[in-house]
C-alpha cells in the first residue's frame, strides 16, 4: 500500500463532506433569484431579506428558546441520573438505570417523535414550545448522562473522602467538590444538547404548534422549492452551529483530560 494513500483518503473525505455545505454558502451569494448554478454575480441582498423576514427571525428566536430551555432540563435530569447511577452499589441496578436512561438514543427518530406526540396528549400538554422543550430534553438527556458519567468515573475517590474527613456533608461535598470536577463535562454536554435541540427537525415537526422552529420552517420552504433567501438563512445557521460545535470540541477535550482543574 502506498504511503500517501491514507492522507489522500482523508483529504478526499474532508472535501466530499464540506463541499455540499460550501455549495449552500456559495449559492446564497448568487445574484440570480433562482437557486443554483451558474453563479451570475455576487450579492448580499438575500441576507438582508433574511433579516427583514419576520417569519424567519421569529422561528430563529423560537429555536433558541427551545434550545436553551431543553438544555437546562436535560442537564438537570442527566446530571441527577448520572449521580444516581454512580451511587448504586449493585452492578445490575446500575446497568438497568443506565440502559433506561439511554433508551432515547436507540429509539428510531420517527418512533420517538410520534410516541412523544401521543404522550403529551396524555399529559394534557398542547403542541407548542412546552412540548418541544420536553421532547428535546428527553432526547438530549442521554448525551448528558454519557458525557457527565464518563467524567464522574474519572473522579478520584479520595477527593470526596478528604472532604468528608474535614467535616463536609453530602450537599457541601456535591457543591464544593463534585460539581467543580464535573464542570467541563457539563459544559460540553450543554453545548451538545444545545446543538441537538437547535438542529432538531423531527420532534419539533410533530410536537410544534402553529409557530414553526427554524428547521421546520426551512423544511416547509424546501418543499415549496429552493429560494435564495432560505439559502442565506441556512448559511447563517451553518455558521452558528459550526461556531457552537468548535467550542463544544474545545470543552470536550478539557473534560477528557483527567488532570486539568
Amino acid at each position: 500500500m502506498s504511503r500517501r494513500l491514507p492522507g489522500l483518503v482523508y483529504r478526499g473525505a474532508v472535501l466530499c463532506l464540506f463541499l455540499p455545505l460550501a455549495l449552500i454558502a456559495l449559492t446564497s451569494l448568487n445574484r440570480q433569484p433562482v437557486v443554483g448554478f451558474p453563479i451570475s454575480g455576487l450579492t448580499l441582498e438575500w441576507y438582508a431579506a433574511v433579516l427583514a423576514d419576520r417569519e424567519i427571525v421569529r422561528a430563529f428566536l423560537l429555536s433558541c428558546a427551545a434550545a436553551l430551555a431543553s438544555t437546562a432540563l436535560a442537564l438537570l435530569a442527566g446530571l441527577w441520573t448520572s449521580l444516581a447511577v454512580a451511587s448504586l452499589a449493585s452492578p445490575l441496578l446500575r446497568a438497568a438505570l443506565l440502559c433506561g436512561a439511554c433508551l432515547p438514543m436507540v429509539t428510531p427518530g420517527i418512533v420517538s417523535a410520534i410516541s412523544l406526540r401521543i404522550y403529551i396528549r396524555l399529559l394534557g400538554i398542547d403542541p407548542g414550545l412546552g412540548a418541544i422543550v420536553l421532547g428535546h430534553a428527553i432526547h438530549s438527556a442521554p448525551y448528558v448522562v454519557i458525557v457527565v458519567g464518563a467524567r464522574l468515573r474519572l473522579m478520584p475517590a479520595n477527593l470526596a473522602e478528604a472532604a468528608r474527613s474535614l467535616g463536609a456533608g453530602d450537599v457541601r461535598i456535591f457543591r464544593r467538590v463534585t460539581l467543580p470536577w464535573l464542570r467541563p463535562a457539563l459544559g460540553a454536554a450543554a453545548v451538545l444538547a444545545l446543538l441537538e435541540s437547535f438542529d432538531d427537525f423531527l420532534r419539533s415537526f410533530f410536537l410544534g404548534g402553529y409557530r414553526p422552529t427554524l428547521p421546520v420552517l426551512i423544511y416547509g420552504r424546501l418543499f415549496a422549492g429552493l429560494s435564495p433567501e432560505i439559502g442565506a438563512a441556512t448559511t447563517l445557521v451553518l455558521a452558528l452551529t459550526m461556531a457552537v460545535g468548535l467550542s463544544a470540541e474545545w470543552l470536550f477535550r478539557r473534560a477528557r483530560a483527567p488532570k486539568d482543574s
Partner: protein
C-alpha cells in the same frame, strides 16, 4: 438519611419511567384502540386490528420492507466509507495529528439534518453543481434526473448517518495494539493477511456497534425520504408520520406501525451487535 437517599434515587427513576418509558407504553396502549382521540360518546374497543392491517396490506408491508432495505443499504455504504476513513486516521496518521484530523471530519456533522438535505439538493438538482459541471463540460444537454429517486435517497441517508458509524469504528481501530500488527509483519504476514487476520477480527465489535446504531438511525429518518425520495420510494417512517400529520389522522394505526418499526429495528440491531460480540476473540 435513608429518606434523602430514597428521594435522591427517586428523581432519576421517575425521569426514566415518566420520560423514556411512558411514551412508548402509551404508544403501545393506543395501538390497541379502534379510534383515538375518541369522540366523547365513543366507547373505545380494544383489538389487534391495527397489527392485522399491517400484515394484510401489501402497501404497508412494501413500505416497511423498503425501509429495512434502505436502512441496510445505508448501513453497508456507511461502513464501506467510514472504515477506510477511520483507518486512515487511527492507524495511518501520527498520533499528534490524529485529533485535529478527526475534528475536521466531525465538523460537517454539527449541522442539522435539514441543512445537509438542502446541501444535497444543491448538489443534485437540475440546476445543481453536478448537472452544472456536466452541462458546462458539454457531457449532457439536458440535466440528469439525479434527485427524487432511490439514488438521492440513499445518498442523503448516508450523508446524514455517516458520523454514527465513523466514531465507533474509529474508537475500535485506535484501541488496536500496534505491537500486534508489527508482530504479524515480523512473522511475514503481508498487508492483506494483517488486515483480515488481525485488524478486522479485533475491530469487529466496533463495526457491529456502529452498524447497529446506524441501522436504527436510518430506520427512523423522516425528513430525508420525505424530501430526497421519489414517488416510488415511500418509506415506513413516512407512512407512520402521515397517520399523525393531518387532522383526519389515524393515531392507533400509526402507533401500531411505530411499535412494529421499533421492535423490528431493535431486534435487528441486537442481532448485529451480538454477531460482533460472539466471534470477537478477546485481545
Amino acid at each position: 438519611m435513608r429518606i434523602t437517599r430514597a428521594l435522591f434515587l427517586l428523581g432519576p427513576v421517575l425521569w426514566v419511567a415518566g420520560a423514556n418509558l411512558a411514551p412508548l407504553f402509551e404508544m403501545a396502549r393506543i395501538s390497541l384502540l379502534d379510534t383515538y382521540p375518541a369522540a366523547p360518546d365513543h366507547v373505545a374497543r380494544h383489538s389487534l386490528d391495527n397489527y392485522v392491517a399491517f400484515l394484510t396490506s401489501p402497501i404497508y408491508r412494501a413500505a416497511f420492507l423498503r425501509s429495512i432495505s434502505f436502512a441496510g443499504l445505508a448501513t453497508l455504504l456507511a461502513l464501506l466509507l467510514a472504515y477506510p476513513l477511520a483507518y486512515a486516521i487511527a492507524i495511518a496518521t501520527p498520533a499528534r495529528r490524529r485529533l485535529r484530523r478527526l475534528l475536521l471530519l466531525i465538523a460537517p456533522f454539527w449541522t442539522g439534518e435539514i441543512v445537509r438535505i438542502f446541501a444535497i439538493m444543491l448538489l443534485l438538482s437540475n440546476r445543481g453543481a453536478v448537472n452544472g459541471i456536466l452541462r458546462w463540460a458539454g457531457v449532457v444537454g439536458d440535466p440528469l434526473p439525479l434527485l427524487y429517486n432511490p439514488f438521492s435517497l440513499a445518498f442523503g441517508m448516508v450523508y446524514v448517518v455517516l458520523l454514527a458509524m465513523l466514531l465507533p469504528v474509529y474508537a475500535a481501530l485506535e484501541k488496536l495494539p500496534r505491537e500486534l500488527l508489527d508482530a504479524a509483519a515480523g512473522l511475514g504476514a503481508g498487508a492483506w493477511t494483517r488486515f483480515h487476520r488481525v485488524t478486522l477480527p479485533l475491530t469487529r465489535e466496533g463495526i457491529a456497534a456502529g452498524s447497529a446504531l446506524v441501522f436504527l438511525i436510518s430506520l427512523g429518518t423522516f425528513a430525508v425520504p420525505s424530501i430526497l425520495g421519489g414517488a416510488d420510494t415511500t418509506l415506513f417512517s413516512m407512512t407512520i408520520g402521515s397517520m399523525f400529520a393531518s387532522s383526519a389522522g389515524r393515531w392507533p394505526l400509526g402507533a401500531a406501525f411505530g411499535l412494529v418499526l421499533l421492535a423490528s429495528g431493535l431486534g435487528i440491531a441486537a442481532a448485529i451487535a451480538s454477531a460482533g460480540r460472539q466471534a470477537a476473540p478477546s485481545p
